[in-house]
Symmetry: C2
Subunit: 194 residues, 2 copies
């Protein structure tokens, strides 16, 4: 069993998909959390000055989705075919584009403008891509479903009802939160405001 150490900030953010994937397989890991106010003094120690990173047996790996894909393979949460993986990766990158340029400063006007102009069309597209399927991939859960939950949680802090017009995406979120290992993680994880 490899030794895992996740380093991220003391909030959910981009680190949470990695925590979900490790929790899903009941994998023990060190959940190292740096206080955001202390970040300046640590930044230069990390690849490209960014978090999260995952250490696997002492080797440091960076980039959220690269780490996520690695763990998803181990967890059996990737596609059943290369074409399924293509579809799953497209959903993941669409969600990632959406959250990457979100105005995380939380400025109310900027959030509203972004959501109206860019956010809502993405949600409409994701709702359509999900369609009548249970999960994004069809009849089996993948890490794209998890990423929808961890990403939308962050945005909901700033605009709580932003998914209200998308009942399928709301139902998907609930389904993920009810996966037993995820429900257990949500219950035991450190409480942070976002």
């Amino acid at each position: 069993m490899p030794n895992y150490k996740l380093t991220y900030f003391n909030f959910k953010g981009r680190g949470e998909i990695i925590r979900f994937l490790l929790a899903y397989t009941n994998t023990e890991f060190e959940d190292h959390r740096i206080e955001y106010n202390d970040w300046a003094q640590h930044k230069s120690s990390y690849p490209f000055g960014k978090l999260p990173v995952l250490e696997i047996d002492g080797t440091v790996y960076n980039q959220t989705l690269a780490i996520g894909r690695y763990l998803a393979k181990k967890a059996g949460l990737t596609g059943k075919s290369d074409l399924d993986d293509l579809r799953i990766d497209a959903i993941l990158d669409t969600i990632d584009d959406f959250v990457s340029v979100f105005p995380w400063t939380g400025d109310e006007k900027a959030v509203k403008e972004y959501m109206d102009k860019s956010g809502q069309p993405v949600l409409a597209g994701l709702e359509k891509a999900l369609g009548e399927k249970k999960w994004f991939a069809g009849d089996y859960v993948t890490w794209a479903d998890f990423y929808w939950v961890t990403s939308s949680d962050g945005i909901a802090y700033f605009q709580p009802d932003f998914v209200k017009n998308y009942p399928k995406l709301l139902a998907l979120k609930k389904r993920v939160q009810e996966v037993p290992e995820i429900a257990a993680w949500i219950k035991r994880r450190p409480q942070t405001i976002y």
Copy 2:
């Protein structure tokens, strides 16, 4: 042999990694190019209103890196292990972050500011990640090496000498351009200014 149709604009941009990957395996594909001035009338026909898309036997797939990863698997240009793939994916996403927020309007002041503040640290990190290795993965070429070339080409249009302080990244670019199938593609592709 599946039928491939790539739809993108009449320039290299984000479409070029897909063209590289198809060219590398000598795969025939329809290279459909939409004039940027005509885009507004076509935009709503494409998933999330974005290009490139690749049609495979009539089914439309979106997101550059999702498509790229699928084709790279077919081409034998992914990692030799899951950990190699993690490293390769991290390089790909780092390059992608770099180009995604680049000020593509080309405003001279914005380009200079972005490159000084964000671009150069990324280049320094990539130069370090490459180190003394021949390719990003080590002793074998992957699509991360290709993505470095197609992405840096776009930026070079606006700031021609931006890689000058990174001899290893420059040498890598030359090595990719000398891969016989890539060299042949570069020779026969439509000439566009960027």
